[in-house]
C-alpha cells in the first residue's frame, strides 16, 4: 500500500477530485497548506510597508491506495492539476505498512478502499 501525497494549486482541487472520481478513486483527505517551491511569491503592501509573501496557499491531498492503483491515481492528479505553469505542484509516494478501518477493525488492503 502507498500513500500518494500531492500539493496542488487550491483552485485545482475540484478538477483533481473529478478526475479521481472518474477513475473510481473516491477516498481522499485534504488539508490546507502553504508552500514554497519554484513558484516565486509576490509582494503585498500593508500601510505602505512591503510584505513579501513566499509561502503560497496550496492544497495537500492524501490518498492511500493499493500498489496497482498508484499510477492511476498519479495520472488522475496530473490530469486535474496540470496547467504547465510553475506552481502546478508535486506528488510524493510513500510506503504504508498497514491500514485499519476504525469502524470494522478490518486491516490491510481491505481497509484502504
Amino acid at each position: 500500500m502507498k500513500l500518494v501525497v500531492a500539493y496542488i494549486q487550491p483552485d485545482k482541487l475540484n478538477a483533481v477530485k473529478q478526475e479521481l472520481f472518474k477513475d473510481e478513486i473516491h477516498k481522499i483527505s485534504v488539508t490546507n497548506a502553504l508552500g514554497c517551491g519554484q513558484q516565486m511569491g509576490y509582494t503585498e503592501t500593508y500601510r505602505g510597508v512591503d510584505v513579501e509573501v513566499n509561502l503560497l496557499k496550496k492544497v495537500r491531498i492524501e490518498i492511500a491506495v493499493t500498489e496497482p492503483f498508484v499510477q492511476t491515481t498519479v495520472d488522475a492528479i496530473i490530469r486535474g492539476a496540470r496547467t504547465g505553469e510553475i506552481g502546478d505542484g508535486k506528488i510524493f509516494i510513500m510506503p504504508i505498512e498497514d491500514s485499519i478501518r476504525i469502524r470494522s477493525g478490518e486491516k490491510g488492503e481491505a481497509a484502504i478502499g
Binding site: 487550491p10 483552485d11 485545482k12 482541487l13 475540484n14 490546507n32 509576490y42 509582494t43 503585498e44 503592501t45 500593508y46 510584505v51 496557499k57 492544497v59
Partner: protein
C-alpha cells in the same frame, strides 16, 4: 378727566404696541423653532441614512468571499466620497436646480444657495443609489472603473431622473406620480444600473458552468453571515431616517405613521421571504430572509406615507415573496450573476413599491390621478420611464468603460482575489481560509 383718559389711551396703545412688538419677536421665535425642528430632524435622519453606507458595506462584504472583502469596502467608501463631492458640484444642481422643461435642473451648482439642510439630507440618498451597484458587480470589477461609473451615477444619472419626481416642477410630478421616499427615485435607479452592470460585466468565474451544453448554476457562498446580518440591521435602523425623514419637516406629525408602516412592512418582508424559502428549498434560508427585510423596506419606501398599516403588511409580505422568486429567476433562468441580490431587492421590489402606491394608496393623500386605475397607470409610467432612462444611460456608460479602460479584472486576479490584486493586501490576515472557494 381728560388727562386721565389720554393716559388711559396711551397706556392701552403702549400695551398693544408692546404686544405687537412682542408678537414680532414671537413670530421670529416661532419661525426659528420651526426651522430648528426641520434642521434637527433632517440632520439626524440624514445621519441615519449616511449610516446605511455601513449597512451596505457589511451586507455586501458578508455575502461575498473573504478574498474580496477589502475591495468591497473600498468601493463603498469610495462611492460615498466621490459621490458626495460630485453631488455637491453638479448633482444637486441638476436635481433641485430650477427646472428646464421639467427634465433637468439648471442652477445652484456648487450649492450656491447654501441650502445645507436639504443638501445634506439629499446627498445621502444619492450615495445610496450609487452604492447599490457595487453589490451586484462585486468580486470581478476593476476598482478604477468602479470609481468612474459610480461618479457618473451620483453626478448625472441619479439626479436627472430624481429631478423628474422630487424637484416639484418635474414632468412626472406634474402627472401625479408619487414616490414618497424613493422606491423608484433611489432604489430602482441603483438597481437598474446594477442590472446593466451585471449583464455587461458577466458572471463571476465558476458561477455558471457549462456541462455538456447545459448551464449548471453553482452557489458561491458568502463568507460572513453575522456581518451580513449586522448590515441588514443597520440598514433597517437607517431606514427610519430614510422614510420618516422624507417628511422633510420636523413638524409633520405623520412621521410616526411612516415609522409604523416601515416597521410592519419590513417585518412582513422577513416573514414572506423566510416562509417562501422554507417551502421552496425545505429550510428557512438565512441570507434570503435577510434580503426579505430589505425587500419589505424597499417596497414600503414609496407608499409609506399613504397606506394603512394593514396594507403595509401586505406590501411587505408580497415583497418578501417577490424577492425570493426574483433572485431565483435572475440566477437560474436569466443567468445574471448578482451576488447580493441587489437587482431583486432594489429593482423588482422598488417597482412593486411604486405600483403599490397606486394599488393601496389613499388617493386623496396622494393628490395625483383621479381614479385608482389612473394612479396605478401613472405609477407604472414613472417606473417605466426611470427604467428606460437608467438602462440606456448606465448601459452606455458600462459599454464605454468596457471598451476603454476595461470593466473586469483578469481571471487570474479574480481567482486570487481582488484584495491582493487590486489593493495588495489581505482582509483577514492570519486566518486560515480556503482559497479554493
Amino acid at each position: 378727566m381728560k388727562k386721565s383718559k389720554k393716559i388711559f389711551i396711551f397706556t392701552i396703545l403702549a400695551l398693544l404696541l408692546s404686544v405687537s412688538v412682542h408678537a414680532d419677536e414671537l413670530t421670529d421665535t416661532l419661525d426659528l423653532y420651526s426651522a430648528a425642528f426641520d434642521a434637527i430632524w433632517l440632520l439626524i435622519c440624514g445621519g441615519l441614512v449616511f449610516f446605511m453606507q455601513a449597512g451596505f458595506a457589511m451586507v455586501e462584504t458578508g455575502l461575498t468571499r473573504a478574498k474580496n472583502a477589502g475591495n468591497i469596502i473600498m468601493k463603498n467608501l469610495m462611492d460615498f466620497s466621490a459621490g458626495a463631492i460630485l453631488y455637491w458640484a453638479v448633482g444637486w444642481g441638476l436635481m433641485y436646480g430650477e427646472t428646464a422643461g421639467g427634465f433637468i435642473g439648471s442652477s445652484d451648482f456648487f450649492l450656491a444657495s447654501g441650502d445645507t439642510m436639504n443638501w445634506f439630507f439629499q446627498v445621502v440618498f444619492a450615495a445610496t443609489a450609487a452604492t447599490i451597484v457595487s453589490g451586484a458587480m462585486a468580486e470581478r470589477t476593476k476598482f478604477s472603473s468602479y470609481i468612474i461609473y459610480s461618479v457618473v451615477i451620483s453626478g448625472l444619472i441619479y439626479p436627472i431622473s430624481g429631478h423628474w419626481i422630487w424637484q416639484g416642477d418635474g414632468w412626472l410630478t406634474a402627472l401625479g406620480f408619487h414616490d414618497f421616499a424613493g422606491s423608484t427615485v433611489v432604489h430602482s435607479v441603483g438597481a437598474w444600473a446594477a442590472l446593466m452592470g451585471a449583464i455587461i460585466i458577466g458572471p463571476r468565474t465558476g458561477k455558471y458552468v457549462k456541462v455538456d451544453g447545459k448551464v449548471s448554476v453553482k452557489a458561491i457562498m458568502g463568507h460572513n453571515m453575522p456581518l451580513a446580518a449586522l448590515g441588514v440591521f443597520i440598514l433597517w435602523f437607517g431606514w427610519y431616517g430614510f422614510n420618516a425623514g422624507s417628511t422633510l419637516s420636523g413638524t409633520d406629525l405623520s412621521m410616526t405613521d411612516v415609522a409604523v408602516t416601515t416597521t410592519l412592512a419590513a417585518a412582513a418582508g422577513v416573514i414572506g421571504a423566510m416562509f417562501t424559502t422554507w417551502i421552496a428549498f425545505g429550510k428557512p434560508d438565512v441570507s434570503m430572509s435577510l434580503n426579505g427585510a430589505l425587500a419589505g423596506l424597499v417596497g414600503i419606501t414609496a407608499p409609506c406615507a399613504v397606506v394603512s398599516n394593514g396594507a403595509a403588511i401586505i406590501i411587505g409580505l408580497i415583497a418578501g415573496i417577490l424577492v425570493v422568486a426574483s433572485v431565483e429567476f435572475i440566477d437560474k433562468k436569466l443567468h445574471i450573476d448578482d451576488p447580493v441580490g441587489a437587482i431583486s431587492v432594489h429593482g423588482v421590489c422598488g417597482v412593486w413599491g411604486t405600483l403599490a402606491v397606486g394599488i393601496f394608496g389613499d388617493l386623496e393623500a396622494i393628490g395625483g390621478a383621479a381614479t385608482r386605475l389612473g394612479q396605478i397607470g401613472v405609477q407604472a409610467l414613472g417606473a417605466a420611464a426611470v427604467f428606460v432612462w437608467v438602462t440606456v444611460t448606465a448601459g452606455l456608460l458600462f459599454l464605454i468603460i468596457k471598451k476603454t479602460v476595461g470593466l473586469r479584472v483578469s481571471e487570474a486576479e479574480e481567482l486570487k482575489g481582488l484584495d491582493i490584486e487590486e489593493h495588495g493586501t489581505e482582509s483577514y490576515a492570519g486566518f486560515q481560509i480556503f482559497q479554493n472557494m
